[in-house]
């Protein structure tokens, strides 16, 4: 973790494996265990084996099977929420992955992710200079979209939204909403590097640190003091893991849902009626791990005519979509199976639209909804809001 003292975590992992009481609260909460079913896939099982390997020095337990299980985790944080002994399991999983990567025992897919990121500075196969390609679909491109010094707001777009066509609707919606509200905003353009989360979550912490330093330097260079991110993971990393690099610098970090809700409150965006039954899927990194629950609901609630229905598991209890922790890269079938659980719950609400606030959630849920043949639209909260203000 970038904001954490490395040595402290190294020592803490050994102790935390001993603190684990193996009660199994984590197992009940874990989407991976639910899908896989074997004890070795449960958080307590993984911690038990980590205790044997790292605390008791029984290296023979460090097998390919164990590496596979460590990679089978969405980092959704449900286990940390329910841990009876208060273990920060999310940090523990990251530390385990770091140890695997440092000893060269990481899954091959992790190496591919790292190599690509180091080469391109983004998670796609496109050149990083093409980061603003999505903006070509705007009817009118904002004047200062690319690295405008002193802009009121910097929009950190995120790799998936910038490079994957199916997610490009999110930056398009955010940009149009900011323009409608008359916000002076910019982006880091081709100098926006991946936030570093894919590196953090594959254990390449030192590399992630380099990405953080670069992004922070760019923001400082432009004199930006408000940064918004529509990707829940980007938001989480900026908010929690960049703090060491941001020390002493005045930067307000908001998720786009928080900022858009503010614009509505200020009367700069005026939602018009929409006749939809809407439910909301809390992204793990925004909700449970980031503490932002109300802003997206405030936006949905501000749209006249919308009938809002909560999912059975919502807010901190929300179920993961299956797309976190690079799981999709190492085990796409497992990721899809976890998404299937969530789609069943979404369908049970009778909603015509499921809204989220994370490009990865939108992508994963969109695919799962299509696979299940459900007549449900999957939208980012900014897309729903745009529909109501157009």
């Amino acid at each position: 973790m970038m904001a954490m003292d490395d040595q402290k975590l190294l020592a803490e992992l050994e102790r935390e494996t001993l603190v684990c009481g193996r009660c199994g609260n984590c197992r009940s909460a874990c989407p991976v265990y639910r899908a896989v079913g074997w004890e070795s896939a449960s958080p307590r099982g993984k911690i038990s084996l980590a205790k044997e390997i790292f605390t008791k020095g029984r290296r023979n337990f460090l097998t390919g099977d164990y590496v596979r299980r460590v990679a089978q985790c969405t980092l959704c944080g449900a286990c940390a929420r329910d841990c009876a002994t208060g273990i920060d399991t999310r940090s523990l999983w990251l530390e385990l992955r770091r140890r695997l990567s440092r000893s060269g025992q990481e899954p091959k897919a992790y190496d591919s992710i790292r190599d690509n990121l180091l080469a391109r500075k983004n998670v796609s196969t496109f050149d990083n200079e093409d980061r603003l390609e999505w903006a070509q679909d705007l009817d009118e491109e904002p004047e200062h979209l690319d690295r405008q010094e002193g802009a009121d707001v910097c929009y950190f777009v995120g790799c998936v939204s910038a490079f994957f066509p199916q997610a490009a609707q999110i930056p398009l919606a955010v940009s149009q909403l900011l323009m409608k509200a008359g916000v002076d905003f910019t982006t880091l353009g081709g100098e926006e590097w991946c936030c570093g989360f894919p590196l953090l979550s594959t254990g390449f912490v030192d590399d992630a640190r380099e990405f953080a330093r670069h992004n922070v330097a760019m923001v400082k260079e432009l004199g930006i003091h408000t940064l918004i991110a529509s990707c829940a993971s980007c938001y989480h990393v900026w908010k929690h893991d960049y703090q060491e690099d941001l020390a002493g610098y005045d930067l307000e970090i908001l998720h786009t849902s928080e900022y858009l809700a503010r614009l509505i409150r200020e009367g700069r965006l005026k939602p018009q009626p929409l006749e939809e039954v809407v439910t909301y899927h809390d992204p793990c990194d925004l909700g449970r791990n980031g503490g932002v629950f109300e802003a997206p609901r405030e936006i949905i609630g501000s749209i006249p005519g919308v009938s809002f229905v909560e999912l059975e598991h919502n807010r901190a209890e929300s179920l993961c979509c299956g797309g976190g922790g690079n799981l999709q890269s190492v085990d796409p079938e497992l990721s899809a199976e976890i998404a299937r659980f969530r789609v069943e719950e979404i369908a049970a609400t009778g909603a015509t639209v499921v809204v989220s606030a994370c490009q990865q959630c939108e992508q994963i849920l969109g695919a799962a909804v299509r696979k299940a043949g459900r007549p449900i639209r999957v939208l980012d909260v900014s897309e729903l809001l745009l529909e109501s203000v157009e």
Partner: protein, 484 residues
């Protein structure tokens, strides 16, 4: 049938839901208790030959038929949230991981019953029912991980039992697979009777489905009391327990435990000592008002008992499933959980503190009052499992805790493997004979969960056990520098 042939057939039948890989099987050789391998390995074969996750009752039946034919031990397991190796094999064989038998099968909101797969956790059921304005009548303090069938197979007392009784009193029908594979729906009037299987720890049959009584989800009111005087807080506890409005939950924490919570920074309202008493009511607004008056009057009539803040009371309730939170101060915990007469609570706690002084050890006690007569009381101390010798000596002190409980009419709560040396304390001779007769009738070949409940293994026979533990206690005393 040869054992190997039976195992092969089961493995083939359950296909991807069966495994014999050491990587997977190793994780089924343990439960919550980290007992050192040098104590376990010479005595028991905890490594299963096969772990199977049956998907439905028929598969459980087919597995038991083959296991019986092959003479293969079968150990049922779901949440594995106990500490006495109840769900850990003692003689290898098959572990039946029942976790696929989960979910709500049928809800009858009119008759207030729910039928569930046995491996459904109490946490899942509570979440499901609460969303519909309903609730389980009682739940274990390990609700997020404990299964409904598992709690039935134990004694089934916990949060809510004071008001609604044991789980046995709430179960109307249980689908059980007997050791020969026969599938039966058992009721209080069937033969064998449903009550044979409560607290039978998976030794008579495998419960696969239960129909249980539930309740309306009423509003709650929470109180958290504090007093430096054990006698006074015990007096309030007794009065509240016997008052007209029954508490839903009655949980106490002794001074040593409160101090440990303070040291860890998790004491309610920052209290640094004294005893705590959490009282939680559920019911109609009128009942809650009456309950409040009862507690108000008791506090007003006491010298030293005071209310902690409503926020602290609510937080205490919200943390009810995290009784392991103190383990962070360990990193390990050792202790004894006893089924203790409520009337003996004060004298038990006084003697426990004397024992603590003798041992020069902090002994922390907390527990739930689960019936008008009984409380489940945990007395624990911190340890470090990485210091194996000291840890083994610590295990011997657990017997000292049980000895204190025994002097006050208490005995271990649950048997499994590790409490078999206390069988003569837990059961009368005639009761134990009755239980053994049941086992002989239903499982003559001893296929189901062998080594548990009915008889101590040779090395755990009470004489060897007592001598061994006493020797360790004395060694520990010498190491500590002469405390008794």
């Amino acid at each position: 049938m040869e054992k190997s042939e039976a195992l092969l057939q089961i493995k083939k039948m359950s296909a991807e839901r069966a495994t014999d890989t050491p990587f997977e099987c190793a994780l089924y050789t343990r439960d919550l208790a980290p007992v050192p391998a040098l104590l376990v390995d010479p005595l028991f074969r905890t490594m299963p030959d096969l772990v199977v996750r049956p998907a439905e009752t028929g598969e459980v039946s087919a597995i038991l038929k083959l296991a019986s034919a092959g003479g293969i031990p079968v150990t049922p397991r779901a949440g594995a949230s106990t500490v006495y190796f109840n769900t850990v094999p003692a003689r290898g064989g098959i572990v039946l991981d029942l976790n696929l038998l989960r979910g709500v099968v049928e809800l009858d909101e009119e008759k207030l019953t729910v039928t569930v797969g046995a491996a459904t956790t109490w946490g899942e059921l509570e979440h499901y029912l609460n969303a519909r304005g309903l609730a389980p009548q009682s739940v274990p303090s390990s609700a997020p991980s404990a299964s409904i069938g598992g709690w039935f197979a134990m004694m089934g007392y916990g949060i809510g039992s004071l008001k609604y009784g044991s789980l046995l009193s709430q179960v109307q029908v249980a689908e059980v697979v007997l050791p020969d594979g026969e599938i039966r729906d058992l009721t209080p009037d069937s033969d064998p009777s449903l009550d044979w299987f409560a607290a039978s720890e998976g030794t008579l049959g495998i419960v696969t489905r239960l129909k249980i009584a539930i309740r309306r989800h009423h509003p709650m009111r929470h109180f958290l009391l504090h007093s430096p005087d054990l006698g006074e807080i015990a007096g309030v506890l007794a009065a509240v327990k016997d008052a007209g409005v029954k508490p839903y939950n009655l949980h106490f924490t002794d001074e040593a435990c409160a101090q440990a919570m303070h040291r860890q920074g998790i004491a309610p309202d920052g209290v640094s000592g004294g005893c705590l008493l959490a009282i939680d009511y559920e019911g109609t607004p009128e009942e809650l008002t009456a309950a409040g008056q009862t507690v108000d009057n008791l506090v007003a009539g006491s010298r030293t008992v005071s209310f902690l803040s409503p926020e602290a009371a609510l937080e205490e309730w919200n943390e009810r499933y995290k009784s392991l939170k103190l383990k962070r101060s360990g990193p390990s915990e050792l202790g004894g959980e006893s089924w203790l007469p409520v009337r003996s609570l004060t004298s038990y706690l006084t003697d426990i503190q004397q024992l603590a002084r003798n041992l020069r050890l902090d002994l922390c006690t907390y527990g739930h009052v689960v019936s008008p007569e009984r409380a489940i009381v945990m007395t624990m101390f911190f340890a470090d499992e990485t210091k194996v010798f000291d840890y083994i000596i610590g295990l011997s002190l657990v017997k000292k805790i049980h000895d204190v409980a025994y002097r006050h009419g208490g005995y271990p709560y649950g048997v499994g493997l590790w409490n078999t040396p206390y069988l003569s304390r837990i059961f009368t001779g005639s009761r134990l004979a009755e239980l053994r007769d049941r086992k002989k009738r239903l499982d003559p070949a001893g296929v189901l969960n062998p080594g548990k409940l009915y008889k101590w293994p040779l090395m755990l026979n009470p004489l060897f056990f007592t001598i061994g533990m006493e020797c360790l206690v004395r060694v520990g005393s010498l190491r500590r520098g002469g405390g008794r």
